[in-house]
């Protein structure tokens, strides 16, 4: 079923989401990928104030294409989330409630999702042109020098995602595969 949610996320909204739900997100989300995560982790280590208050927010793992003239943003689909795994529990402890990416997360991330009552969404990898249509405003808010890896503040409307890991730790990548796996023939 398709659910519609608004950011920032509350505990109640997050707990209402289940692995496998299709969700349309509206509101503000922030982008961040490899270099921005490294930058945020280093700022935390130095005890500095982060450029974005993460409470209740969603980070979208994306490095968009440059915008053609007259457009808000270029193609903007998700990148592989696993590369952010080592930083994710730190951000969830800072109040981050949601992540949008694609691909597998490690055990520590799943445990941190459960502990912090957060949620991991996947957007369709390789559908950057379609996903960009749901992005209505884009503004760089940190790490401008990182080019496509800068942190953007995006205003999205009905941004389509699927819940992969819900706040109880259910994982669509595991349950989905189990459901359609054919009995392995002896090779």
């Amino acid at each position: 079923m398709t659910k519609t949610i608004q950011t920032p996320l509350t505990g109640q909204v997050v707990e209402g989401l289940e692995a496998g739900d299709r969700v349309l997100i509206s509101g503000i989300i922030y982008t961040g990928r490899d270099a921005a995560h490294k930058g945020l982790a280093e700022m935390m280590e130095r005890g500095e104030k982060l450029p974005v208050d993460l409470k209740g927010q969603i980070i979208y793992y994306v490095g968009p294409c440059p915008a053609k003239s007259g457009r808000v943003i270029g193609s903007a689909g998700p990148t592989t989330s696993g590369r952010m795994d080592s930083y994710t529990p730190l951000l969830l402890d800072k109040g981050l409630k949601g992540m949008i990416g694609k691909g597998l997360r490690n055990k520590e991330v799943t445990e941190s999702i459960i502990k912090n009552k957060a949620v991991y969404f996947a957007a369709i990898g390789g559908a950057g042109a379609l996903l960009a249509e749901s992005i209505k405003e884009a503004e760089v808010v940190a790490f401008d020098d990182l080019g496509p890896e800068a942190v953007y503040r995006l205003k999205v409307e009905d941004f389509p995602v699927t819940v992969v890991i819900d706040s109880r730790g259910n994982d669509l990548y595991k349950t989905g595969r189990g459901k359609y796996k054919q009995k392995k023939k002896e090779i």
Binding site: G20, R22, A35, V62, G63, P64, C65, P66, A67, K68, R71, G74, S75, A76, G77, T79, T80, G82, K102, G103, L104, A122, I124, G125, G126, A127, G128, A129, L130, L131, A132, E133, L146, G147, P148, E149, P160, T162, V164, L172, Y173, T175, G176, R177, G178, K179, Y180, K181, Q182, K184, K185, I187
Partner: protein, 281 residues
């Protein structure tokens, strides 16, 4: 001797970078449409339909299919009766990549060193260029924007000859299974068997350029392609890894003779945005 000017090569590479990134090849589109018809999972069918919608938007608006517009892998088949004039061939290709990625609003995804500072080169160069000399008086240029997500899930093994065809199958299937949702399934699996370490990787990449639905002309290899595709689609990974019966659109295998002691196997993973564009100069 036919002369080809470097300016023509630069111009062609520039155009191919854009075309490849905006237009999903027809064979991939057909394969996705067929997959959407037979996919067992309702969520999987929705995903495949969104992927097709995405390709249509990209073609219509001339925007990249995927924001990961890749490292530019460029295959050059240079006719031996061609005389190149007006500069340096690698520079001409790189200049084309630079212009294509700037003027096409494509993402610059190249860092200058792999393990130290990793500073973005800012223009998506250098391209990865593979040149072969062939008979004739033309230059065939193929631009393959290769995204990082699927490339990262690729693998290579130096198997023992005694591992046999079963060893090859196990390595290919395990590689796809381990990759799971990461390489943006449905994928195309390029497999190289034989040669030396670099040759097996190169033929795995070249295997990705073969049209989906076309099999290796050797019937034994073609049979292995069919068996592997069936087994991979039985893994249950499905579109985007959400579960389903379409994990791969094709398994394309290329082979090369090997050393008496060796059986190298390379698996080059390619996401569904299997982009490539080619032209003759």
């Amino acid at each position: 001797m036919r002369e080809i000017n470097m300016g023509e090569i630069t111009k062609t590479v520039e155009e191919l970078c854009m075309e490849a990134n905006y237009n999903l090849p027809a064979d991939i589109k057909r394969a996705l449409e067929a997959a959407a018809e037979r996919e067992e999972s309702p969520l999987g069918r929705e995903i495949l339909s969104d992927i097709l919608k995405n390709a249509e938007i990209a073609r219509r608006d001339r925007v990249p299919i995927c924001q990961d517009t890749g490292l530019a892998v460029v295959f050059l088949e240079l006719g031996q009766d061609v005389r190149l004039v007006g500069g340096d061939l690698s520079e001409a290709v790189n200049e084309g990549v630079k212009k294509g990625y700037a003027n096409g609003y494509l993402r610059k995804s190249s860092v200058d060193d792999p393990f130290m500072v990793r500073k973005n080169t800012g223009d998506n160069t250098p391209a990865v260029i593979h040149t072969t000399i062939v008979p004739g008086d033309r230059l065939r240029i193929t631009v393959v924007p290769k995204g990082g997500g699927s490339e990262n899930m690729s693998a290579l093994a130096m198997l023992k000859p005694s591992d046999g065809v079963e060893g090859v199958k196990r390595f290919v299937v395990d590689t796809v299974e381990r990759a799971g949702s990461n390489p943006c399934p449905p994928v195309i699996v390029g497999v190289g068997i034989g040669g030396t370490i670099e040759m097996t990787a190169l033929i795995a990449k070249k295997a990705l350029l073969r049209n989906v639905g076309e099999h290796n002309p050797n019937p034994v290899v073609a049979k292995l392609e069919r068996e592997l595709l069936e087994e991979i689609n039985g893994l249950g990974i499905g579109p985007q890894g959400f579960g389903g019966s379409t994990t791969a659109l094709a398994v394309n295998i290329e082979t090369f003779p090997a050393h008496i002691a060796s059986m190298p196997v390379a698996v080059n993973m390619q996401c569904h945005a299997a982009r490539h564009s080619e032209a003759f100069v």
